[in-house]
């Protein structure tokens, strides 16, 4: 739904069917009314708005808003809001908290939510007291405040919420007062419009436990002389008659009266993006800064997170669980009892002709001279081919393609340090691989080779090779040097070819 096609909502659409249960005269009513009034103007479908609170008087707020809402646990509302916003960045998520909820038990979450710049709107109702638990001093109570838990006066330094938000790297920081309705409306609108975390402190009056805590800043008669209503890019002027202003000195802001000595042009201009400006304003109590104190643009956590998701998807392609499970060294175990599909159909080299070899050997034996000759000859005289080796960890598919390319009947297998550890022959392929192993790219030579093959040195008599071949049925013999490093291989074919010429 685009904004244009949205049905026009009114304040009433945001009023829930629950009876509001704050004390009569509580500042919370005014805040609720103003928020309900502003909501229709945000341009956000009602179903996309969520209010999340913690515990305290203010935290009843979501029950009274006819939107989605969670009344969570003490201090933790920013954490739920963060998870929700990350899960669905389309939502407009609001956190309602108080000075106890947000700055005492939930101080940690407030700080970290601000620095992450999750696109949330946080409204902190500051009444400087614990209301729901009936009147203990809070982290914003002034030192010396006498309460049930501080009968001789609180002996703690109060926190300044605006300074905290600034130190916590919030990107939008503002202040308003419960009873100055239009001002509050503007501030809430600005907070909603800000992309990133928006922190709004509302001076809220608790009629029961700390009535008048903010009187100088809320009382109609005197407030305009005590508040400065900030406007970005405008000179900092204040007072009922706009007759006072702030000038910038090396020590900070100084209040001056406009007239003979100072004119509007002398006043400091509110630079909303300056953190020095914002820091000095946060420490100021006369006049009390109201409105947007600080606002800068920084990428939001939710955008960055989903940006990583998008980038990862572009790079890695569609999510593929099978690939994920296999993204590690894998191996296959074949089941001897069951014929599995062969991954190398028709690729196993043919059997060598046994009968032919026997016939040649018969003729050799029949020829006494030849036997003598062969006894004197060594394997070296046969000029064996150089070995073609693979390491034990080589993949079977690679080994087979080497055998195919070089058109050879066996591979010598070495350990990583090149020592002969095995031999992989046509016979191994026929008996251990064909019809049993499916995923040749996932298994290694080590699993299928014949380990510790009989090998001969180069200077071994040729008859020894012949003897082994005819009695053991070996079709290939590895040739190694004194260190068991392979130097060649001789095959039945080589020997037969030699014998045929010799005969």
């Amino acid at each position: 739904m685009t904004i244009d096609t949205l049905p026009r909502l009114t304040r009433k659409d945001f009023v829930s069917d629950q009876t509001v249960r704050w004390c009569p005269g509580c500042g919370d009513y005014a805040i609720l009314a103003q928020v309900q009034k502003v909501m229709p103007d945000l341009g956000v479908p009602k179903e996309n708005i969520v209010f999340i609170s913690g515990i305290g008087c203010s935290s009843r707020f979501p029950y009274y808003m006819n939107t989605y809402g969670v009344h969570s646990i003490h201090g933790r509302a920013p954490t739920l809001a963060t998870g929700l916003k990350l899960a669905n960045p389309e939502l407009s998520v609001w956190v309602v908290t108080g000075d106890g909820d947000g700055l005492s038990i939930g101080g940690n979450h407030l700080v970290h939510t601000c620095r992450r710049n999750v696109d949330l709107n946080i409204i902190l109702f500051n009444n400087r007291i614990y209301g729901l638990t009936k009147g203990q001093y809070s982290p914003t109570s002034p030192a010396g405040l006498r309460t049930k838990s501080s009968p001789m006066g609180a002996i703690e330094q109060a926190l300044n919420p605006i300074s905290v938000a600034l130190a916590a790297e919030a990107t939008f920081i503002a202040r308003t007062v419960d009873v100055i309705q239009d001002h509050m409306g503007d501030v809430i609108q600005a907070a909603a419009a800000h992309k990133g975390v928006s922190f709004v402190e509302v001076f809220q009056n608790c009629v029961i436990f700390y009535d008048g805590a903010w009187e100088p800043f809320s009382d109609r008669g005197i407030r305009d002389d005590n508040n400065i209503y900030l406007e970005a890019g405008k000179p900092m002027v204040f007072g009922k008659n706009n007759d006072k202003g702030l000038i910038r000195t090396t020590a900070g802001f100084e209040v001056v009266t406009l007239g003979e000595q100072y004119s509007l042009a002398d006043l400091a201009v509110h630079d909303v993006t300056s953190d020095t400006n914002a820091w000095m304003l946060s420490r100021l109590t006369y006049p009390m800064p109201m409105g947007v104190i600080y606002q800068v643009q920084r990428p939001t956590y939710n955008d960055l997170l989903w940006g990583q998701v998008a980038a990862a998807k572009t790079k890695a392609g569609a999510s593929d669980l099978r690939a994920l499970y296999n993204a590690s060294d894998t191996w296959t175990v074949s089941d001897d009892g069951q014929p599995a599909q062969s991954g190398i159909k028709g690729e196993v080299p043919q059997e060598i002709d046994e009968a032919y070899f026997a016939e040649v050997m018969e003729r050799v034996h029949a020829n006494g001279d030849l036997i003598d000759l062969l006894s004197e000859m060594t394997i070296e005289d046969l000029d064996p081919q150089g070995p073609i080796t693979v390491e034990t960890s080589a993949r079977m598919d690679n080994a087979l393609s080497v055998m195919r390319q070089k058109d050879i009947g066996c591979l010598l297998v070495t350990s990583a340090d090149r020592h002969l550890t095995g031999i992989l022959t046509e016979h191994d392929l026929l008996t251990r691989v064909a019809g049993r192993v499916e995923n040749l790219h996932e298994v290694t030579v080590a699993q299928f080779m014949t380990p510790r093959p009989t090998a001969l040195p180069l200077d071994a008599p040729l008859v020894e090779a012949l003897h082994l071949m005819s009695t053991q049925g070996f079709r290939h013999l590895p040739i190694v040097d004194a260190h068991n490093l392979p130097v060649g291989v001789i095959s039945v074919r080589d020997v037969v070819r030699f014998l045929i010429t010799a005969i």
Binding site: Q18, I73, A87, H109, W331, A416, D417, E442
Partner: protein
């Protein structure tokens, strides 16, 4: 073979238990992991037990600083990292001293003699050098000056400081062990090349060290025998090596994918659960939203918020983290939202033994929250089962609309085993329904329950017309308005308990290994599976009528569990705690059980359980 090679006998072994032990700075975890990877690739069945100090840098050379990695290789199906090492590689005196009590007489010990100087002996608390005072007379000792040999091998690699030279000595030891066990160096060399891609001198040093160790084995006269463990006779299939934390991460993302949902994982770093976060963080392309929170509470809160938003949400932590999360877990129970909470248990109480295994959080997750707070609890028995349980947990969470707890432990989390890789297409989808229409006319009723499951509708923000509020205050049935009315509270407490209990309708029946009735049933749960199974199998071979039941569903229990317990004269419950499942079984089934308890920060040995079984049977 040629004659001028010295005769080295290669012996075939069925299985072997090897422990690498050294100072925590010696790289023993890395060494053990590399050895394990190679073994897995060759096709051995494996089970590992890393054992490292909680402090990243405990004082060098002391007992507190000893870091060990035990691996059990076998040609047959194995389920534990082994009771007693057959071979120990001791890089310093402290490593020797810490491991000796576990060693079998006759075992082999490869000792780095260079580290056996006065200072190190003193740090380990040895008054005399154990190499010379007869301490080791029962063992086969191989004295190898690893540091010196390694220094000689690596010394002339350009650009290495003396410290860096010594840092490669674990690779020398690894090379030597590779030779003894007839293993290829290749996968480790590949790993070194990948790991130190931009540091050619480190590649050179480590590869040289590895080869030097291997050649040393080949040339020295000391080693007369090499060993070979044949590939395991695993069931046919396609395998990889997996740890419990890895499996948990894969299971969580699989569940989300099977529901067509993003996975939100909110966590705060904590040993021994952090590796789940590490495994999930690189999976952004699966729409995995990992969120490293400011604390455990925030991790739980964010997980809750994400679940409210309609994604599959989970968190992972250990016992101390669960303590912090408890309040938010209770809120999740009240909001009735689906999510998964993984507790990788470690030794407690308090900070306890962060890197050691224990099963002492069972009662914590069952009862450690205020009010009547029943949550489903699952416990995988093996590292690979962490995958299945993660998927199962989401399935149950969806049905009951409740947070589901998975109890893993430090042993399962870090231990590795061969894992038959599942076919993702064979894993059933997890159906998810978000209502778009009101179930109650004008006013949507968020707490109107499904009559069968008692779950409530998962209506999510963004759905027009279903705007509703949920919260931690007690509420009325159906509409979910805040209510303190007596009958409403009673009803809601009943319903929340009943919907968890009704999960028993869909969980599998309890199975038993061994006779269906008889003298003794050994009941366990969680990571003790391997040890109990092996001990019971052994007892069965000894001729005893003993059975083993391993409970994966701790809340609710499988429907037939009570029946099974009646079928045996006696029940033995071994646990790595002081009797927590025992308490639950006694309370739930009014059946006495015999507890076998151990909290030493280490898994059960098969022999410990077997001994108890045989004693019980002898006295029967």
């Amino acid at each position: 073979m040629t004659e001028d090679q010295r005769p080295v006998v290669i012996q075939e072994l069925e299985s072997v238990v090897i422990r690498f032990a050294g100072d925590s700075g010696d790289g023993m975890q890395l060494t053990g992991t590399q050895f394990t990877n190679t073994a897995a690739i060759i096709g051995n069945d494996i089970s590992t037990l890393p054992d490292y100090p909680a402090e990243i840098r405990a004082p060098a050379g002391t007992l507190a600083g000893v870091s060990g990695f035990q691996v059990h290789l076998s040609e047959s199906d194995i389920s534990t990292p082994g009771d007693a090492p057959d071979v120990l590689i001791a890089m310093n005196p402290a490593a020797l001293k810490a491991s000796l009590p576990d060693m079998q007489p006759g075992a082999s010990i490869i000792i780095n003699t260079d580290a056996f100087n006065k200072a190190n002996l003193a740090k380990a608390g040895y008054e005399n050098n154990p190499l010379h005072d007869g301490t080791l007379s029962n063992f086969r000792i191989y004295e190898v000056p690893v540091t010196t040999l390694n220094r000689n091998a690596v010394a002339d690699v350009a650009g290495l400081s003396p410290k860096e030279i010594n840092r490669s000595q674990n690779f020398f030891a690894l090379g030597l062990v590779y030779w003894v066990y007839d293993r290829p160096l290749q996968s480790t060399i590949e790993w070194v090349n990948k790991r130190f891609k931009n540091k050619p001198e480190a590649i050179e040093a480590n590869v040289r060290a590895l080869r030097a160790g291997y050649y040393f084995g080949d040339t020295t006269e000391a080693f007369q025998v090499r060993y070979r463990i044949k590939p395991a006779r695993l069931r046919a299939g396609h395998y990889r090596k997996i740890s419990g934390n890895e499996a948990m991460a894969l299971g969580l993302v699989t569940a989300a994918q099977k529901a067509g949902k993003p996975l939100f994982f909110g966590a705060y770093p904590i040993t021994p659960a952090s590796d789940i976060l590490h495994a999930l963080a690189p999976l952004r392309h699966f729409e995995v939203l990992t969120f490293q929170a400011e604390d455990e509470i925030a991790a739980m809160g964010a997980t809750l918020g994400a679940a409210f938003g309609g994604v599959f949400a989970a968190t992972g932590t250990s016992g101390p983290g669960v303590a912090l999360k408890s309040e938010a877990m209770n809120l999740a129970l009240m909001l009735e939202l689906p999510m998964v909470i993984v507790n990788v248990q470690r030794g407690g109480p308090s900070t306890g033994l962060p890197t050691k295994v224990e099963q002492s959080d069972l009662l914590q997750v069952m009862f450690g929250r205020n009010g009547e707070s029943p949550l489903p609890v699952l416990a995988p028995a093996t590292p690979g089962e962490c995958f299945d349980m993660a998927v199962e947990a989401f399935r149950l969470a969806m049905r009951a609309m409740a947070p589901v707890i998975i109890l893993s432990d430090g042993f399962l989390a870090n231990s590795s085993e061969p894992w038959p890789i599942p076919d993702p297409d064979a894993i059933p989808p997890i159906p998810v329904e978000h209502p778009t229409q009101s179930n109650g006319g004008d006013r949507f009723q968020p707490y109107r329950r499904d009559p069968v499951t008692l779950g409530r509708p998962w209506a999510i923000p963004g759905t027009p017309g279903l705007e509703h509020r949920v919260g931690g205050l007690e509420k009325s049935p159906d509409f979910g308005n805040v209510s303190y009315a007596a009958q409403d509270h009673q009803r809601m407490v009943n319903d929340r308990a009943a919907k968890v209990a009704r999960l028993a309708d869909i969980i599998p029946d309890q199975t038993v290994f061994g006779p269906e009735e008889g003298e003794l049933l050994v009941v366990g749960w969680g990571g003790t599976y391997g040890a109990i199974h092996a001990a019971v199998a052994h007892a069965q071979n000894q001729g005893y009528a003993v059975a083993h039941a391993h409970i994966r569903y701790l809340n609710p229990f499988p429907r037939n569990l009570g029946y099974i317990l009646q079928r045996y004269k006696r029940i033995l419950v071994p646990e790595l705690n002081m009797g927590q499942l025992s308490l639950l079984l006694r309370g739930r089934f009014v059946r006495d059980v015999i507890s076998l308890n151990k909290v030493e920060g280490r898994p059960f040995k098969i022999s410990e359980i077997n001994k108890t079984i045989t004693e019980l049977m002898a006295g029967a």
